[in-house]
């Protein structure tokens, strides 16, 4: 494997990690506030569909992105109403939203475009195009650093940068602001937050609001950035992988980036080198590389590498004492 090939593998890793990272950060807010969010998949799916449809209708990808975020937000709020206000089971609410998104996108899409749930192909300004950072072409021939800058860092679509810039921001919000402190406290011990005069319900809704917006970006990234249009079930389980990454990262933002990059790298490697020959001794089949994210998550959950401790009050609806 030469150097350029190595850079291209990492380049592919960034593209593949982006959607996982956005969904993972979305899940981070929700779960840190004590709401299990198995509905990441559904929120991404509805956003992917709405973003593609609106981008196609208006011809503007930014309108599509905004609409996708709004759709995902509405789903997050339904989840909130069911699980915070009515104290329903959070898993059931999330699964229901996944099913709703899966069915709704295909039915509405088919009614609108008669293409079996697909949206028409997006072209031109209805899709995100790649951003070439300044000097990328000029620096291309510089050894080592040139390819790193011009291939790896430059030439991605805007939402890739958004996702990675969101990581330090999320870290800062979570660990350096009053909002973040309260958010974490709500997930660990909601009654103490309540005693301090902060509304648990309000905090949890705010967390779900951010979850909805981030999931919306993730979904729009799939349909308007990575692909050119919506296809049914196009999230293909990425919401669940993001959830696995969240557990793998032990609910911390910087670790989440690491986990998503690792999962993205494994996918990129399995795409580029289906069967890896190890010094002619044996081959690692592609299926093994593809399963590795799940195996790693199980190992982490089993407590073999450190301990994955979820927020204390996760999954429990808060009942105010009277």
């Amino acid at each position: 494997m030469d150097f350029l090939q190595f850079i291209l593998t990492l380049d592919s890793t960034l593209r593949l990690s982006t959607v996982l990272l956005l969904a993972c950060l979305a899940g981070l807010f929700s779960e840190r506030s004590g709401i299990v969010d198995i509905g990441l998949e559904g929120k991404m799916l509805i956003s992917a569909f709405v973003a593609a449809a609106i981008a196609y209708e208006t011809g503007s990808v930014w309108m599509g992105l905004a609409a996708g975020m709004l759709a995902s937000l509405i789903f997050a709020m339904i989840h909130g109403v069911a699980s915070i206000i009515y104290r329903g089971d959070q898993i059931i609410s999330g699964v229901a939203l996944n099913f709703l998104a899966s069915g709704l996108t295909v039915v509405v899409g088919d009614a609108l475009y008669r293409q079996g749930g697909q949206t028409p192909t997006l072209a031109g300004s209805a899709r995100f195009s790649e951003i070439t950072l300044p000097f990328a072409d000029a620096l291309r021939d510089v050894p080592i650093l040139g390819p790193i800058y011009s291939e790896l860092i430059s030439g991605h679509k805007p939402l890739v940068y958004v996702a990675f810039l969101a990581v330090p921001l999320v870290w800062w919000v979570l660990f350096r602001t009053r909002f973040g402190l309260r958010l974490r406290a709500v997930g660990e011990n909601p009654s103490s937050v309540d005693t301090a005069g902060v509304s648990v319900v309000g905090m949890r809704f705010k967390a779900l609001l951010i979850t909805g917006l981030l999931c919306g970006i993730a979904g729009a990234y799939l349909s308007t950035s990575q692909a050119a249009g919506f296809g049914k079930e196009m999230t293909a389980g990425r919401g669940y992988i993001a959830l696995a990454a969240l557990i793998f990262a032990k609910w911390r933002p910087l670790h989440a980036m690491g986990a998503c990059l690792l999962f993205g790298l494994l996918e990129a490697v399995s795409n580029l080198y289906p069967n890896i020959d190890v010094f002619g001794l044996f081959t690692i089949p592609v299926q093994f590389t593809q399963t590795l994210p799940y195996i790693l998550t199980v190992i982490i959950l089993g407590g073999f590498i450190g301990r994955a401790m979820p927020p204390n009050a996760i999954g429990q609806p808060y009942v105010k004492e009277r």
Partner: protein, 332 residues
């Protein structure tokens, strides 16, 4: 309780009236859905063509999960539909279960084999059509590296890959064929994002023509190939129109003809045997239309047509992956 009884009574009455429907033919699509721009869409087009020409109607169903398969077959059979056509290899197991219970209904299964008195099994010589488009890929390629992206990793798709690789090697012995499969579950038929990423991976390894045999995933392959300025090859339906001037050709698998003919023959359809659709009887082929006319040179066309005639005459034999689960020119 009385309300419940009423409901039950009402639904029973509905079921009875539904059972009295006419002997319309029926088609059941596979998981990709009837508008996958590929395999299922081809089947759908055949059914539509029959309906338009005869002015009659047919019943159809798109399954949403594997669990619905046997239920769908039984429902159509009990409904009196005849013949019942199903598109996709995954129907073989449920059909083998159900066929015996409906001796008066004729079933047609495309891409699968079921040994029963009332079932006609239709197979396509995918390796022959893929061989032809493989030749075209090798002739159009400047880098000497071409790609193949399959959907779910199953023998059927490996047969596509194997035929393709043989065609490539027939033109250029030294050409390299990179093959990727999207996945090992049925979700692999519907993942355009993964298809897109696999295409980028192949481009980074030097491929300048990619052949997608991946159902709905292929939409992403063709899109990325067009974005990155390389050529692609579609599958099953004629997909040349998706990106005019950027899709080299499409390997046509005339599923539409099979559905059309089955519907035309109706209840008199010959069952209990195997029907193989080859280059010789027009079952497979490559697509040439105004969208790819500029891409296909006269030289290319002459070479491919010559090979097609030779295959039909039995002078060239294209290895079928399914015959021995291996491929002489590539390993999986």
């Amino acid at each position: 309780m009385t309300l419940m009884t009423k409901f039950l009574g009402a639904s029973a009455a509905l079921a009875l009236s539904a059972g009295a429907a006419l002997a319309d033919p029926a088609i059941i699509f596979d998981l990709g859905g009837k508008f996958d721009k590929s395999f299922n869409e081809s089947a759908h087009n055949g059914a539509q063509r029959w309906a338009e020409e005869t002015g009659e109607s047919y019943n159809e169903f798109e399954i949403q999960s594997d669990a619905q398969r046997e239920q769908a077959i039984r429902r159509f059979a009990e409904n009196g539909n005849n013949p019942v056509v199903m598109a996709g290899f995954s129907w073989a197991t449920p059909l083998a279960e159900a066929a015996g219970d409906y001796p008066d209904t004729k079933f047609v299964i495309i891409d699968g084999v079921v040994e029963a008195e009332n079932v006609q099994s239709v197979l396509f010589a995918e390796e022959q059509g893929s061989y032809l488009v493989g030749m075209m890929a090798a002739m159009a390629s400047e880098s000497g590296t071409v790609g193949f992206i399959g959907g779910m990793d199953i023998p059927l798709i490996r047969n596509f890959a194997c035929g393709y690789a043989q065609g490539v090697k027939a033109v250029n012995e030294d050409a390299e064929v990179i093959a990727n499969m999207t996945g090992t579950t049925p979700a692999a038929w519907n993942d355009p994002v993964k298809g897109s990423e696999l295409t980028r991976a192949q481009i980074s390894q030097g491929a300048d023509v990619v052949y997608a045999a991946a159902g709905g995933t292929g939409v992403g392959v063709l899109q990325t190939a067009a974005d990155e300025g390389i050529l692609s090859i579609g599958v099953d339906s004629n997909q040349n129109y998706l990106h005019p001037g950027q899709v080299l050709t499409s390997m046509m698998k005339r599923v539409d003809n099979v559905v059309y003919q089955s519907f035309m023959t109706g209840e008199d359809i010959e069952t209990g045997g195997l029907r193989i659709m080859t280059l010789d009887n027009g079952g497979v082929g490559y697509a040439l239309d105004e969208n790819n006319a500029e891409l296909v040179t006269d030289e290319m066309k002459a070479a491919v047509d010559e090979a097609a005639a030779a295959i039909a005459a039995g002078e060239i034999s294209v290895h079928n992956y399914n015959s021995d689960e291996s491929c002489p020119v590539m390993s999986f």
